[in-house]
Symmetry: C2
């Protein structure tokens, strides 16, 4: 099967390409053509997932696709972006039709849910690697950046932390959500393979006066660290408040709780800051927990002890 038939068959399908808001010309020319509404700016990010590094080579293709797109969309969420489209650079060893059908199905599942259209891409032969570029818009000048946190702001996180790191353990053992007998293990695996890009929350925060945000890809300590560095501030964390799921608490040894929920990567939850005098009613998108405060200090301090909390985020090299 040549590249053109492959694209047509697996990627130029209605679920992936029919929602054309903002995309004037999608798959099938040298470039996609995109219009941006007056008064809005683009937010965009590219993310790569490599077989054997970011997911087990044997992982089901629908889950590989879902996870790669969710991770990319999470960057849009962290900027408060309203997503509209994405571009897929897919490198794969051979045009395996069963694999491609699964991949395309997982991609479509999330694309429909998130309201994004596949607007272009490239397929090449080589070791399995997936790069996804996502694109959305924000009101001009209104992107939620890392650098806006101010002394006294409250620090929040969405969802629960450490679940993906816990799920990774089962994923590395070759397990998939459907095959695991234990419901809690299956749920943690699902959190690894199908993270929730917090797109609604991100857009709501963008409109509600949040001062900074980041998505948690390398662990809370590492990613909060980026906010602190950009904002030239420190943080005091209430470690008792770090949100952990029931499944996580049931199956993970207590001595690993702090490590996995503070430094385990790839939860793709949001960490964000809000002025403490804002009286906000969080909408019902997902759990939101206050975990600390921006302070005038270097780095991250344990609120209970006053001691520094060491960051041990994922190192890429």
């Amino acid at each position: 099967m040549d590249e053109f038939s492959l694209i047509h068959r697996y990627f130029n399908r209605a679920e992936l390409t029919s929602n054309t808001t903002g995309v004037n010309l999608g798959i099938g020319d040298d470039c996609a053509v995109v219009a941006v509404e007056p008064g809005r700016q683009l937010v965009q990010s590219i993310d790569t997932h490599v077989s054997g590094v970011h997911f087990p080579a044997s992982a089901p293709p629908n889950l590989i696709a879902y996870r790669a797109l969710a991770a990319a969309l999470s960057d849009l969420a962290a900027m408060g972006g309203k997503p509209h489209s994405f571009y897929l650079a897919l490198t794969l060893p051979r045009a395996d039709q069963v694999w491609l059908e699964g991949f395309s199905t997982g991609l479509s599942e999330l694309a429909v849910k998130a309201g994004v259209v596949l607007a272009g891409g490239d397929t090449t032969r080589g070791p399995l690697t997936i790069s996804i570029m996502v694109q959305g818009t924000v009101p001009a000048g209104g992107a939620l950046v890392r650098s806006g946190a101010r002394i006294g702001d409250d620090i929040y996180v969405s969802g629960t932390l450490g679940d993906a790191a816990a799920g990774l353990k089962y994923a590395l053992a070759g397990q998939v959500p459907d095959s695991v007998g234990d419901d809690r293990e299956a749920w943690l695996l699902e959190r690894f393979y199908k993270p929730s890009a917090r797109l609604q929350l991100g857009q709501w925060l963008q409109q509600s006066g949040a001062t900074s945000a980041i998505d948690i890809s390398d662990g809370l300590l590492a990613d909060l660290g980026h906010i602190l560095e950009s904002s030239e501030a420190g943080a005091s964390l209430d470690l008792e408040q770090i949100p952990r799921s029931a499944a996580f608490q049931a199956v993970i040894e207590p001595e690993l709780h702090n490590h996995l929920s503070l430094s385990g990567g790839e939860d793709f939850e949001l960490c964000f800051t809000l002025p403490s005098d804002l009286e906000l009613q969080f909408p019902d998108f997902c759990q939101v927990t206050k975990v600390g405060r921006i302070i005038k200090a270097e780095g991250i301090i344990d609120q209970a002890t006053g001691e520094p909390v060491q960051s041990r985020g994922y190192r890429h090299f």
Copy 2:
């Protein structure tokens, strides 16, 4: 070296990031933020180059980078786009500093020449793979697409064809432009590693009434074939007019001339169509040659014999 130090050292350098026209926020947050001028639309494309597939694993890193960016920019040229920025997803086995310095230098060389800024990216560990997303703008509604060719239009190509396919032969033998004794072989190698993205020509064509354009990545026959399919027309080619360089003619056996210049890929020249009654004076950007005409037919006909010309473009799988 962690990802953040690596990005800072090799990619957040002035030559790559200082020309910030249109990019409000570049490297260093979850997303880049980009503004689009009123009355313009975005054109954008993603391209992947895989070690051992698109270039020899031993190729010098500056040439790998140059070629990957040139190939991506060529898609903008084919839409008549004015380039402004690009995003780099770089997967590499290890953070080899000599290699990264070379890669960054080659990338900077072309980025400065083309006037594009590196606005974001992702670095990951894995088999050497480079995906580049390029972004530019066109006047709203004015993108040069594949589907606009009309019966009677003249067909043109830029530059000379077959040089990259000829240069590939030397590249596969492990040669680089600086090490080759024969000037003609060195020049062909240079055409392989440093193709010219015809950005100025593309923008000029966009403003001058061109009806369609494509960049020649899979060979003239295959890529002209895409214009014909999209435009629902055929073409008559004057094979005597196919432009070939002196170096190509000197070192390539005559019986391969047609094959390499019609079906050899990766020249990244433009193939475009113009109404035959337009009396245009081509600017002096590069050689431009009329090679045929759009006709009412199926496929591509040899003007001299009236017989079909067979396409044997590069097959990706």
